[in-house]
Symmetry: C2
Subunit: 396 residues, 2 copies
Amino acid sequence: MTGGTGRLGRRRLLGAASLAGGGLVAGAAGAQAVGATRAESGRWTGRSIPFDGEHQAGILAPPAAHGRFTAFDLEPKAGRAEVTALLKAWTDAARRLTAGAPVPGDAPTGYGPASLTVTVGFGASLLRRIGAPVPAELEPLPAFPRDAIDPRRSDGDLGVLVTADDAFVVAHALRVLAAAGRGTARPRWQMTGFSTADGTGATPRNLMGQPDGSGNPRPDDPGFGRKVFAAGPAWMRGGSYLVFRRIRMLLDDWERLPRHRREQIIGRRADTGAPLSGGTESTAPDLRKQNPDGSLAIAASAHVRQSSPLSNSGATLLRKGLSYFDGYRPDGAPDAGLLFIAFQADPRDGFTRVQQRLARADDLSRFVRHESSALFAVPHGCRPGRYLGQDLMEGR
Amino acid sequence: MTGGTGRLGRRRLLGAASLAGGGLVAGAAGAQAVGATRAESGRWTGRSIPFDGEHQAGILAPPAAHGRFTAFDLEPKAGRAEVTALLKAWTDAARRLTAGAPVPGDAPTGYGPASLTVTVGFGASLLRRIGAPVPAELEPLPAFPRDAIDPRRSDGDLGVLVTADDAFVVAHALRVLAAAGRGTARPRWQMTGFSTADGTGATPRNLMGQPDGSGNPRPDDPGFGRKVFAAGPAWMRGGSYLVFRRIRMLLDDWERLPRHRREQIIGRRADTGAPLSGGTESTAPDLRKQNPDGSLAIAASAHVRQSSPLSNSGATLLRKGLSYFDGYRPDGAPDAGLLFIAFQADPRDGFTRVQQRLARADDLSRFVRHESSALFAVPHGCRPGRYLGQDLMEGR
């Protein structure tokens, strides 16, 4: 993947090195870099994904290189009027930031929006606070076997997913949103995830080394809209339910396994992501295929089989996971894994159904721990001039 | 910064959206993104900075979009032989990873090296462990006024700075290094930083909104080499001393200040980074310039004045700071700020001299807290076939 560097490339490289000036010291290590520079390619940080649309933009946007998930709790005195003002303020800020426009009172960064998305969801506790009916889809997720949930890093009145292809842009947007919410909502917890900046369209890998999202449904799949987007009430029509799980990976154990064992546990090849039943990454796994010795090509307890819609009455999740790596735990193990984020029309037919199977029968579950959990109702997207959740706040 | 999207761009955008398929749903918000895509520009993730060279590559490399600083402690039983084996293993892994070559036993990510650098330093405690003399430059940093240092997140036998333009590449490299060190060194603490992916060569901004590094020395400045690189002993000739400080920013207080007050405290404009004495970002601050009313253009206690080499007997630091944002503290304040990383020939004439002044007299010091601290001797770079620190291990 290392391309050549022509005369122009070298010159631009020196420009990019203005702080450290790597190219100016004869023989310095920094001077001989080869391949395209960020300066040559940096235009993509100017890319903008429109905020307004039928669905909130974070649901169908391409995988982003960075994301933060933040849960906010309402201040004790905040009621319907304050929540309405908050949603208006967040909508205005998000609409500006995603377009690369300045936010009044904010010191602009000078960076482009870098495909920024801001997706807002409501916890059941917010609906109760404003006296709105709580949809059955928003009933608390059940406890699953092996769960190790930390309640301080779970749930929340509001859940906000901010993604972009630039980590600074994500951090800056969160500061703007937190400032806009001050007095009405305060951050309850925040988690930071990343993927790769390698925007080739390949499925991003997770920290286990595996492409993560190979089996994701595609919008042209039959029933995609019905399985991912809610039908009602009016404020949720075109919305979706977001399940968040912080899933720590026991990487020290995982990395000690030989590659063939890791592939058996997943049910896919580590290099290409192709199912062990053959084909390429995009080939549907053949759960009945047998090896020459009569054994199943995809083992009975493999993750691909246990999580398949075929094993779960058609249950379908649109996953938007991000890796996290928050340093090391007191026992020396990496505090790292997956910020699992999945959208679905009804979690009872989606995440809950799949996870009830995985927690019992999936070989992979011995190498992960679910450490936090949250569920939010993500209302439909905005038309210009309206604000997120306006139908809810107006009783529709 | 939002460019148009031609026919090819649109098609590639759909390719990049394969996971979520944003472009395939008529009217979906994700479909109308404009501007260059990462897929069009992703070549820079293939860029490679050579590991071998006179200096370790992280010192003079251009500012990276991502970095992790990790301190390792030696296992109790590790002595000179084990440290030698560790340095050989780390050198081999770093040399391969920075070139985008596979590491034996590792599952490759398929991503390019993305300008990966791996820079290794030795704490005084490592030198004592192997019975080597401790250079006077490595004597512990003094305590400074206002310090709030957490010893559990300070110091360490080894300090490793890993930077790249891809967050996943950084995380993966750290996993490889940790695995290669297992049994000899264990992570003591790790901190994760970011800058921007906007590789235009502009000085990256910090979370206070200010370009950070405007006054950095440049390799063509008189005396640069003498001020940044150590003269000896042999294992340090061409090496440098690395000061690490985690500097939390009191962002809630900072953001409540009006812009003109923030600019007075820094001594530079927030938008352009130009000194308040006039000119552009690269203009040297004129510390004697007066406003029409006779007041100093750059106030007596402004950060630019207090940190200037003119105020500190010429003290010069090569700074490579990264922002961090680790969520929120129990009191609701953002746990965010700067991972301050500075290279110099002698910390006593560099960081220590400057910080003794800043902690007392710099207006900015009221808006920051130094929460962790470390000092490492970064040996000179490698020639091919040799390993990092070889001169030290061979008694030179």
